[in-house]
């Protein structure tokens, strides 16, 4: 992989995209880059390298070398760097994909393809449904039967975009339950 400085902006490739093997590394990269003051955007990798359950971190192309140094200093493995124009990075939509279904004693929160259902009175997670990546069954195993305020959060154990989506369902559930109380 080479990230030598290029005048990408003159070709309309104003953004450089860091690609990662694991979704969790991408999340760490976002945190590290933002903390270091980079103008970071998250979004879908280009179709030719996309696996489905992944996310890319974009920085302005004139900052790519500095950003790579920061990531490497933090021990974050980079799979590749590609260049893209400003409009080539479809954003995550999960914050817009929230639905609630009231089942009387239970409330189901659906975010994208993930559903979390909890008991309204006790906050106990009673079911998790959806998703397709291997960490989702693990998260279901750890979360079902535990109250929302004590349960392990998907961010702590998850590695994938499905787990990230479940995290958003968990956060929306916790917020809804706190309002009920």
């Amino acid at each position: 992989m080479s990230t030598s400085h290029r005048r990408t902006d003159e070709y309309g490739l104003s953004r450089s995209l860091f690609l990662f093997e694991l979704f969790r590394d991408a999340m760490r990269a976002e945190h590290v880059l933002k903390r270091a003051g980079f103008d970071t955007k998250a979004g879908a990798p280009p179709p030719e390298v996309r696996t489905g359950c992944d996310i890319a971190m974009a920085v302005p192309s004139n900052q790519v070398n500095a950003a790579e140094k920061v990531l490497r200093a933090d021990g974050i493995p980079i799979l590749d760097v590609v260049f893209a124009s400003e409009g080539d990075l479809p954003p995550l939509q999960v914050s817009k994909l929230v639905k609630k279904v009231d089942f009387g004693d239970y409330l189901m929160i659906r975010v994208g393809n993930m559903k979390l259902t909890f008991h309204k009175k006790t906050g106990v997670v009673v079911n998790i449904s959806g998703g397709g990546c291997p960490d989702i069954p693990l998260l279901a195993l750890k979360m079902v039967g535990q109250p929302l305020d004590k349960v392990v959060s998907p961010n702590e154990l998850g590695f994938t975009l499905c787990a990230y989506t479940l995290q958003k369902a968990y956060e929306a559930s916790l917020q809804a339950w706190r309002k009920m109380r």
Binding site: T117, P134, L138
Partner: protein, 290 residues
């Protein structure tokens, strides 16, 4: 023979493969007993439902292959390797791919290898396998997908590489405008020949034509229960491997899932293993009547 593949959240690094046996309480693959707490998680719910449906209808017991994977992908990589290098020799007439980490290269190697099998199997995908099939433009290498409402939105959005990238306007129209989503999925080449779309109304689709819809009995409490879609996938896989015509297999599986749900009398807190206990009875009754 049917081959079912998927991951299970265990640290074990070795593949588990063998004929699936389900006795109404516990499940085993070959001589390997699966711990009860994992017996209805993820791919195991699909395998248990498939084995009990096959047994109930006198179909050859399915073979399962499971890899331990906690989400980091090593087990999934092993599973792709097994499918590419060994599964072709099993003589399976149907293969179902389920929970797996989407990894581009080994997935593509497997679907390309299918062209070299002595006889091409009927290919079914659900869960992570459906995500990677779409992300790699390989949907036409499959014969049947079994998406739910959120996943048909994803298939309908040509730009989305994952349901989390689906345009919110598609998400808004999901369950009420499924026919429109079906049309979009086929128009962009992101659907195989057959779709069984699971939801408040199940849609059975053959090459963009809606052949059947099933809405009764309507049991809203099934939607939150994790694994109730996996049971449909397991049943339809067993039926197809047993020689049932694909649309009839989809019809029986969709109806039997609702009947099994009704027999369970579920609440949103019911675990799926309570429903799997009724799958054998339900699929037999529905198959006899369909």
């Amino acid at each position: 023979m049917l081959l079912l593949s998927g991951t299970m959240p265990i640290e074990d690094k070795s593949l588990i493969a063998g004929t699936i046996k389900y006795d109404g309480e516990s499940i085993s693959l070959g001589d390997r007993h699966i711990p009860k707490e994992l017996g209805s998680i993820g791919a195991m719910a699909m395998m248990a439902a498939s084995a009990t449906a096959a047994q109930s209808l006198g179909i050859e017991s399915p073979v399962g292959v499971i890899a331990g994977d906690m989400g980091q992908g090593a087990g999934s990589a092993q599973l792709y390797s097994y499918l590419t290098e060994q599964a072709g020799g099993l003589g399976a007439n149907a293969v179902t791919m389920h929970y797996i980490l989407p990894i581009r290269k080994p997935f593509l190697e497997f679907v390309e290898m299918l062209d070299y099998w002595k006889k091409r199997p009927f290919m079914i995908a659900d869960a992570g396998s459906m995500l990677i099939a779409k992300a790699t433009g390989s949907c036409k290498k499959f014969d049947l997908f079994t998406p739910d409402a959120g996943e048909i939105c994803f298939l309908a959005d040509p730009e989305a590489g994952h349901p989390a990238y689906v345009k919110s306007m598609l998400f808004e129209i999901d369950t009420t405008e499924v026919p429109q989503l079906i049309e979009r999925a086929y128009a962009s080449g992101n659907a195989p020949r057959y779709l069984l779309i699971k939801g408040p109304t199940d849609f059975l689709v053959d090459d963009r034509r809606i052949v059947n819809t099933i809405s009764e009995p309507n049991i809203p409490a099934l939607e939150p229960i994790g694994g109730t879609g996996d049971t449909i996938t397991g049943m339809v896989s067993a039926l197809i491997s047993g020689g049932y015509e694909p649309m009839r297999a989809c019809l029986i599986a969709a109806r039997a899932n609702r009947l099994a749900g009704q027999l369970t009398n579920p609440t949103p807190a019911t675990p799926v293993f309570e429903m799997i206990k009724h799958v054998g009875e339900a699929v037999r009754k529905v198959a006899d009547a369909t």
